[in-house]
Structures are given as structure tokens and as C-alpha cells.
Amino acid sequence: MSTTPTSTLTTEALSDTTLLRFATAGSVDDGKSTLVGRLLHDSKSVLTDQLEAVERASASRGQEAPDLALLTDGLRAEREQGITIDVAYRYFATPRRRFILADTPGHVQYTRNMVTGASTAELTVILVDARNGVVEQTRRHAAIAALLRVPHVVLAVNKMDLAGYEESVFAAIAEEFTAYATELGVPDVTAIPISALEGDNVVEPSAHMDWYGGPTVLEHLETVPVSHDLAHCHARLPVQYVIRPQSAEHPDYRGYAGQIAAGSFRVGDPVTVLPSGRTTTISGIDLLGTPVDEAWTTQSVTLLLTDDIDVSRGDLIVPSKDAPATTQDIEATVCHVADAPLTVGHRVLLKHGTRTVKAIVKDIPSRLTLADLSLHPHPEQLAANDIGRVKIRTAEPLPVDAYADSRRTGSFILIDPSDGTTLTAGMVGESFAAPESVKDAADDDGWDF
């Protein structure tokens, strides 16, 4: 093996880069596997033995060209049926950034898997076929991205090679999609004309579409911002574990360990512990063994407090000047992810942050039809993959934020107490963002290159 770097990745990959988590969504024949295969292949993330395995498997199936979908379909059942049945996570890197790709299935019945992928994603790529334009499935994908408040959405208009690489085809689709997404409250839409099969505008700029002046898919993934303006975030620390060494060296150390869910904390900050409401100040912050003055989302830290007050796993530490109200009545939008339906009167466990409490489903006021965003009133139950509004009463007060304010402290899961099944993904508060107020006409050019 040579010690001379041969890949463009080598030298700069050794320095710290940032991490982008993103998800893909697309219907069965929109070319999602081809896009993922192209991203992995053209960014040189597919290694020789993996490609050989795909070539071998393709040949044994009698296929002439290597089927890049075999790179991503990992289970026997998936290969047998030629479909993706579950979220898979892929990893690739460029000199600028590391990527975690949640590769989610496009089938309608796997909405829950899209929700799973989108829940941790900073960006979603939604594919459409240039020949078909915006279809019902596209609207469903956009609605899920909006519901999950994925900060950035990329519309990849694929198969431009089959649409003559025509600007007008792309422009019409981009305009229709952007109008719809804006109505849903998606803050940032970037439309890119591509051909995943031919490689146009995926990693390399297209030679066929010189009318397009924007980034390729990969360029956009490399440069989209991943951090937030913490000045506008409520600081939140769900307490995971109390660290008490009780050793000769640290006889009195008592630290509250957790991953900062939002915002930042500084030594000296007055803080309140919820749900008890006791107040104190931060006397120290340990960042995995190293004292620091300030820590921020999503660092895993240990907070030391001035007063010896009762704090345990499940509590939430917040700035005293910015504490959420606690409540036992939660209204939320949920996606039901289990096979058995969720019904009014269902007794469940609710996990929010690090706290799990008993809860009961009091009401299901409506079910959402994703295709046209219409509401079906009082559906009585939510079946697998249904999205609806739910009212829940909890046995203990919880400090919940609106999901719009914090994806971490505004989310929860419902669990079946009898067998531990994860039933439902919940988002507190309003489901879709209000449409943005009308912008200046000059600034409103329909879509964002």
C-alpha cells in the first residue's frame, strides 16, 4: 500500500471539518438510488471492493451495467424485491465537510421512515422527475419536511436529460414547488436541475445547462450553514445523569451531565431547574473533563451548580430569565409510526428529553391528508403512517417548548407501556409555520438559485 495520498480527500480531511446530516426523499422511480449512488460514486466514497461486489451481484442477476442501487439496498428482502424498506445511513466526505445521509424509502406506506430520517436532518433533498413535475408524492415530501422543520430543502429536478435540458421545464417546476413550500413555511428552498444518471449538476456542473448559474447538489451540501444563531435560542439542558465520584480526590463533586439541547450556557448564569422551579447559578462547566466558561448546543457537558439543590435525571436546566411554562396538557402534531393504531383513551408513556412519564391520549381532533393538507375531523384513531393533531394529558408537569422554537425540547415519542414499542413521533404546538409576510417584490423572484 502506498503512503502517498492518491485521493483529493487526504490532506484536508485530516483537519477538522463540519458535519451535515441530510435526508433524501423521492418516489420509487424518481431516481433516488441513482442520485445517492452518483453522490457516493462521484465523491469517490465507493471503494473498489464495494464496487466489485455490486458488479458481481449485478452480473449474477443478468444485468449488463452495475446497478448502483445495490450499494444502498442492504437487506436480503430489499435486494429480492428491488425496493428500499427501511432507512439506511450512508457516510461520505469531501475536503470541506462530512455527511451523514439518511437514505429513506419513497413508498407511501413508509412515511414513518421519512419522518425518522427527517427528524435529525438539517437538509432534505426532494427529487422530482422533470417529465412529471410536482406530483402528490412531492407535496407529501414537502409537507413532511415542513412539519419536521427541516431548515433547508433542496428540490432536485431530475432526469433533465429526458426533458431536453430545457430551462422552461425546470423553471415551471421550481416555481410551483417553491410556492407550495413557502405556503407550508419552509424557510429555505434551493432548486437544482440535475440528471443523476448522466451526472449533470450532482457533483460536476452540467455542460448541457449553461442557463443554470447555481451550485451543484454537492456544492450546495458543502456550503449550506449548519449552525444556528444562538442569540435567538432558548438555552436548555435535559439532565441525563448525576455524576458523583465520591472518591478521595473528588469527595464533594456533584455534576449534572447532559447534552445541551438548545442555546448556550455560561458560568455565572442564573438557572432554574424544572419542573421543581428551584433556582441557583452555574458555578462551573466541565466539557468532558475540561473546565470551560461557555458551552453550547449540541455539546455534551456537566454543569456544576452553586447550591446543593435536588436535581436528578429527567429534570431540565434552563436560564432563569427564559424558562418555559410547565404543563400537563400537550397539544401536538404527531406521526403514528407503529402498526397498531393510536386511539383516544390509549394509555402510553411519553418520553420528552430525558424524562419518561405516564400519559393518556385525551383527544384526536383531526387527521391530516398530506396530499392536499386537508383536515379530517375526529378520526377516532390514527393508523400507521397517519399524521394528526393529538391532545395528551401527562401524569406529571413537563417543561415543553414549541417544536417551532426547538426541535429537541419540542419533540417527544409515545411508547407502549406493555411491550415498549415506539408508537408515535410528536411535535408540540402549531404544525406548519405561518406563511412569511409578503416580501419586497424585487426580492421575490420565485425560487432561490
Binding site: 495520498p5 487526504t10 485530516l14 451481484a57 462530512r98 445523569y241 426541535r407 415506539t422
Partner: protein, 316 residues
């Protein structure tokens, strides 16, 4: 020790992510620590699978940081195939002593001696690990078992959850996995069931090596280039030894090699290398056109779904 500089103030000017972005290694480290602490908070009897390989060494390092200055609240479990590299056993015992940890050992050789397991014709003991592992989990009543598996290793592992529920037979059913949403891990399980936990799910081989370099973590010497007596079998360099190699026509030679993974000697291959330092290893891996398992693991080549099939049975 770690220095957590705000990116943007560091060595890469002009990065668009602003002062509060975490570097990819800091983000992965923070996520793994969160996972360790969730398990400590929710389970009664967790254990870390420890092979002495780089992934389990990184897991232990993360666990030490997660609970500092207190001790790690988990014990270790080594599945001893009986064909271990001596340097790795020495490393294991040293680490256990240094940190005052408790070590459980499940021994494949014991099972063979008792006639419960039979040696395979190909001499590979990796598939034989599953029974001792799962019986140990049952007899010690472990309810959470940390594994160093990474999703980038293999296509079946790419489908694995961070918290992976196993039934009373330790079986994995990929079609009946719990959706995993946000960072809200669900550890509920019935008596007799347990949860496999993978804190390094989102790490790649290169991430692991970069982290080892950044943190200055000590590794067994077989990860670095050294002279070794090896012979060729199935396209790989295997270490000669009492475990059963070389056979008749196989020729032993001395070569400068190193290992990318550490497992059973009978199925873990070495690669030709002159990388004697961490920096050289990282450069070599970044330039390699072969995956870690493709280069050095015979057991994954048994069939297209070898890993999936073993995982279904209870392998980690």
C-alpha cells in the same frame, strides 16, 4: 487532551458555519457521550463488548470521558475466540487494571472443549462467538450491551439502529426495528430481552483514526507496521500460529504488515504497510481504495448477506 476551539477561530478561515458550529469529531464525540449517559441513566446492568480492537478502545475512551471524574459505571465483556493476538490480550489486561474495571470473559475454547461447539472445517472461529456471547448475556442478565459496530462497515450494519432491541434469543429482526426519532432513544425491553447499543454508529473508519490521533489514545502495536510471519490464504495475509495455519501448500514468509481490524486470527488479514505512526496510518487509510472489512475480513465474504445472517442470530 481535547481542545475544543470554536470553528472559525481555528485553522480554516472563511468557513461559513459561524462561531458555534462543532467540528465533525466534536459532534460525533458529543453524540456518543450522550448515548453512554442515556444507557447509564436507563439500564440496570450494561456492559461494553471489548475486543481490544480500535473501535472498542475508542468506546472505552468515550465512556471514561462521559463520566469523568467518576468511574465508568459499566463492566467489560470479552468474547475470547482462543485465537487472539497475544499483544491484544496483553493490552486488554493492562487497560482493565489501569482503570480498575471488571472484565467478564466468554470463551469459545471452553465451548469447544465441552463439546457444545465444534471447530469448523475452515478453522474460522468468528461465527462460533455468537453462542458464548448470547449465553453470557443471559447468564449475567446484561440488559444493555455496547458494541463498537459502525454503519459504514457493511450494508446490513447501515440499517442498524443506535438502540437495537434483541429478543430472548438475542436475535435481530431488521424488519421489526423501532423507528429512531431525534435523539430520543427507546430502551424499553421485556425481561430476558436486551438492547444492543452502538455509540459509534455514525463514525467512519477515518473518523475513528482521526479521533485516536487527536486524543492520543494508546493502541495495541499490531495496528502499526511491523515484521511478522504471515502466509497467503484467500487473498489475505494471515498470521502463522498454533491456531491452524499454515497448511500443506501455504508458505510462511516475513513481511512488513499491519492490521486494520482486530478479530480472530483465523479470519483477520494483515495489509502490507510501512505506516509506523498514527499520521502515516491515517494517510494510508485516506488513500486506500479498499474498505476495512473488504481488505481484511474473510468471514464477510462467505455470502452476499453474511453479516446480516450472523446479526440475525445474535452476532453484534
Amino acid at each position: 487532551m481535547t481542545t475544543v476551539a470554536r470553528t472559525g477561530e481555528g485553522t480554516t478561515p472563511g468557513r461559513p458555519d459561524g462561531p458555534y458550529a462543532l467540528s465533525h469529531l466534536d459532534a460525533l464525540e458529543s453524540e456518543a457521550v450522550h448515548i453512554f449517559r442515556e444507557v447509564a441513566g436507563e439500564f440496570e446492568r450494561p456492559v461494553i463488548l471489548f475486543s481490544g480492537g480500535k473501535d472498542s478502545i475508542v468506546m472505552l475512551h468515550l465512556a471514561l470521558k462521559a463520566f469523568a471524574p467518576a468511574a465508568v459505571p459499566f463492566s467489560l465483556l470479552h468474547v475470547d475466540t482462543g485465537h487472539n493476538f497475544p499483544e491484544v490480550l496483553e493490552y486488554r489486561d493492562r487497560v482493565v487494571a489501569t482503570h480498575g474495571l471488571r472484565l467478564h470473559v466468554a470463551s469459545v475454547q471452553d465451548y469447544i472443549d465441552r463439546g457444545v461447539l465444534r471447530e469448523r472445517p475452515d478453522g474460522t472461529r468468528n461465527p462460533l462467538q455468537t453462542l458464548p456471547l448470547t449465553e453470557k448475556i443471559q447468564s449475567e442478565r446484561f440488559d444493555a450491551v455496547f458494541g463498537g459496530g459502525r454503519r459504514d462497515e457493511e450494508k446490513a450494519r447501515a440499517k442498524e439502529r443506535v438502540f437495537s432491541l434483541r429478543d430472548e434469543f438475542s436475535q435481530w429482526d431488521p424488519r421489526r426495528q423501532r423507528p429512531e426519532l431525534w435523539n430520543l432513544y427507546n430502551g424499553r425491553h421485556a425481561p430476558g430481552e436486551h438492547v444492543r447499543v452502538f455509540p459509534l454508529s455514525n463514525w467512519t473508519e477515518l473518523d475513528v483514526w482521526q479521533y485516536i490521533a487527536r486524543e492520543g489514545i494508546d493502541l495495541p502495536q499490531i495496528y502499526f507496521a511491523h515484521e511478522r510471519e504471515v502466509f497467503r490464504r484467500g487473498g489475505m495475509w494471515l498470521t502463522a500460529g498454533e491456531w491452524g495455519g499454515p497448511r500443506d501448500s501455504e508458505v510462511v514468509e516475513k513481511r512488513q504488515v499491519r492490521y486494520r481490524t482486530v478479530g480472530d486470527m483465523s479470519c483477520t488479514g494483515a495489509v502490507d504497510s510501512d505506516a509506523t505512526t498514527l499520521d502515516a496510518v491515517i494517510t494510508e487509510i485516506a488513500a486506500s481504495r479498499l474498505t476495512e472489512r473488504g481488505a481484511t475480513r474473510a468471514d464477510d465474504k462467505l455470502s452476499e448477506a453474511a453479516m446480516e445472517d450472523r446479526k440475525r442470530e445474535g452476532y453484534f
